[in-house]
């Protein structure tokens, strides 16, 4: 080892009665070279950071790379989501039915409670914790911009939802082919189903993230997301069935605009050849159908804009 290091400061402190020591100190003072170096390897840059944020968020949405406890809920919901598809396939194979019990496009509508719970559990997990542990400023100290963060989180949440909703459709499709159902028919159905759940994923991811980004507390985020998804649905269904009983079918068709899941239901009924879960399998009129599609796209874009606005400030 080299001789004991001294600086002029420590010299003054140690020798109060020795002005000579102060004068001698600069000659004896030096700084150790402990081998710090510049990093001159490749810098991976913004695109890489964005990609990493995306893949981490997507993995996190299924608890991968996190503790075993946080894997339980997403995996359980994923299993619950796929289980009915397995049952439908089994029934189709053993009864030699000529069609599946359930349309591809309606599957997600039937299991909306599971999708809602998944979103409610995972959207706050994705953004609220960043707020609570104040890691948002750390992200922005990397070479990513606000738009990268928002896009990565949005894309990751939408992809996670798409995996959740598309997996059972693929199971249905595989089962349908095994049961020797009509290939063209089933492929068309799968295509329509996938488009429908893609829209649903984008819409739900947007809504979930906007709400979750407003609170650093996970619990409130979960409750708020589920409230926004289920309360309008319950309200719309109640009023729709009343309107339908009163014979006001047109009003019932338009009412679906006011809750996320009926919005998707309306779009898939009109454009993707599905049957709606509205009372009497009511189909919205053509004008209403276009409004449904328009509103869906506006809500998705609006959620993105709100998220961008929200992250202008890193904190709350």
């Amino acid at each position: 080892m080299s001789p004991e290091p001294t600086t002029s400061v420590s010299a003054t402190a140690s020798g109060p009665a020795a002005p000579a020591a102060v004068q001698n100190a600069p000659s004896g003072a030096y700084i150790h070279n402990i081998g710090y170096r510049h990093y001159d390897g490749p810098r991976l840059g913004r695109a890489y950071a964005r990609r990493s944020l995306f893949s981490q968020s997507l993995r996190g949405a299924y608890g991968l790379g996190r503790s075993a406890k946080s894997k339980v809920l997403p995996m359980l919901l994923f299993a619950v989501m796929c289980l009915p598809a397995g049952i439908v396939v089994a029934v189709a194979v053993f009864t030699k039915a000529s069609s599946l019990l359930i349309d591809y496009t309606r599957y997600a509508i039937f299991l909306q409670a599971v999708i809602g719970l998944y979103l409610a559990a995972q959207a706050p997990q994705s953004v609220s914790r960043d707020l609570r542990f104040k890691s948002v400023p750390l992200y922005f100290s990397r070479p990513i911009e606000r738009v990268d963060y928002v896009v990565a989180k949005f894309a990751a949440m939408a992809s996670a939802l798409f995996i959740l909703t598309a997996a059972p459709l693929v199971i249905l499709y595989a089962g349908a082919l095994l049961a020797k159902l009509d290939f063209l028919d089933q492929t068309k159905g799968l295509g329509q189903g996938l488009v429908s759940v893609a829209l649903l994923s984008l819409l739900f991811a947007g809504i979930g993230l906007v709400i979750a980004a407003l609170t650093p507390r996970r619990g409130f985020g979960v409750a708020a997301v589920i409230a926004v998804l289920t309360i309008p649905y319950a309200a719309v269904s109640a009023v729709q069935s009343i309107a339908s009983v009163q014979g006001n079918e047109a009003a019932a068709g338009w009412l679906g605009l006011f809750s996320p899941i009926t919005l998707i239901d309306g779009v898939q009924t009109k454009f993707l050849g599905g049957t709606s879960s509205f009372p009497n399998n009511l189909e919205p009129s053509t004008a209403a159908g276009f409004v449904y599609l328009l509103v869906t796209l506006i809500v998705i874009a609006g959620c993105y804009a709100l998220l961008m606005r929200r992250y202008r400030k890193a904190g709350l």
């Binding site: 719970l117 559990a121 619990g219 979960v222 409750a223 409230a227 309360i231 309200a235 109640a238 009343i242």
Partner: protein
């Protein structure tokens, strides 16, 4: 300790222990539930219910079946459990989640007092935000014909007590209390309740409906559970959940963030 302080401090120490209700804990819980923007989500639900009631009344007019559908399906079926989840788990969950509950537990207040106080506040909030608007909406919908408004309001109040106790208990047991509360309220009561007849016997909603059935006019409200069974189950769930929540709190271990 100085010799003069015991003269003043014992009353301050013993008085919270003596009663099951602690006003300070109540105030803190109340502020945690209704502070700042959290109140908005709680105000939005009753406002929506009353708005729907006004809309339906103006579109359809007074009609008992409609009122039954909205108060039973939407209000009691969705709104009450949701407010119960928010108030019940919100009364204790966030504190356990961020670890600040240790400061509360370190005070000379018995754990069962804490739970009981929090339960009272949660019940109060749930009743105020569900039973009262249901009463208002019921009067708007059909002017309390067949006692429907009063019956549903009372059913909601009874359900509020059970839900608050149940979800407060969930809050002490798991970090994912909100999710499990929602799974119970939405999946078990709504989904299984409709598919499996037996599941209805184990549903707070049906127990509350049994109370409503007693009050409403003959045949106005139906429940799948007999009244004596419903009341004893309601009481059993409330007491058991509160007792066990108190026990959980005495042996609480704080988990770190996952």
């Amino acid at each position: 300790m100085s010799t003069t302080s015991p003269a003043t401090s014992p009353p301050a120490l013993t008085s919270p222990k003596a009663s099951l209700f602690n006003p300070t804990v109540a105030r803190l819980t109340y502020r945690a539930l209704l502070g700042r923007r959290r109140a908005l989500i709680l105000f939005a639900l009753p406002a929506l219910l009353v708005a729907i009631a006004i809309l339906v009344r103006s579109l359809v007019g007074a009609d008992d079946t409609t009122a039954n559908g909205i108060l039973g399906g939407f209000a009691l079926g969705t709104m009450v459990p949701l407010i119960g989840v928010i108030a019940g788990t919100g009364a204790i969950g966030p504190e356990i989640d961020d670890g600040s509950v240790v400061y509360l537990l370190a005070k000379p207040v018995s754990r069962s007092t804490i739970i009981f106080t929090k339960l009272l506040v949660a019940i109060g909030v749930t009743v105020a935000f569900s039973a009262v608007p249901i009463l208002v909406a019921g009067f708007v919908l059909n002017g309390n014909s067949q006692q429907i408004a009063v019956a549903y309001a009372l059913a909601a109040a009874v359900a509020s007590i059970a839900y608050s106790a149940l979800f407060l208990f969930f809050g002490t047991v798991t970090r994912h209390a909100v999710v499990f509360g929602l799974v119970y309220a939405l999946v078990w009561e709504s989904l299984f309740g409709n598919l499996v007849p037996g599941a209805k016997t184990l549903s707070v909603q049906q127990w509350a409906l049994a109370v409503g059935q007693k009050i409403g006019a003959e045949g106005a409200i139906t429940s799948d559970v007999q009244l004596p069974l419903a009341i004893s189950l309601l009481a059993a769930v409330t007491v058991a959940a509160t007792w066990y929540a108190g026990r959980r709190l005495t042996s609480l271990t704080l988990a770190g963030e996952e």
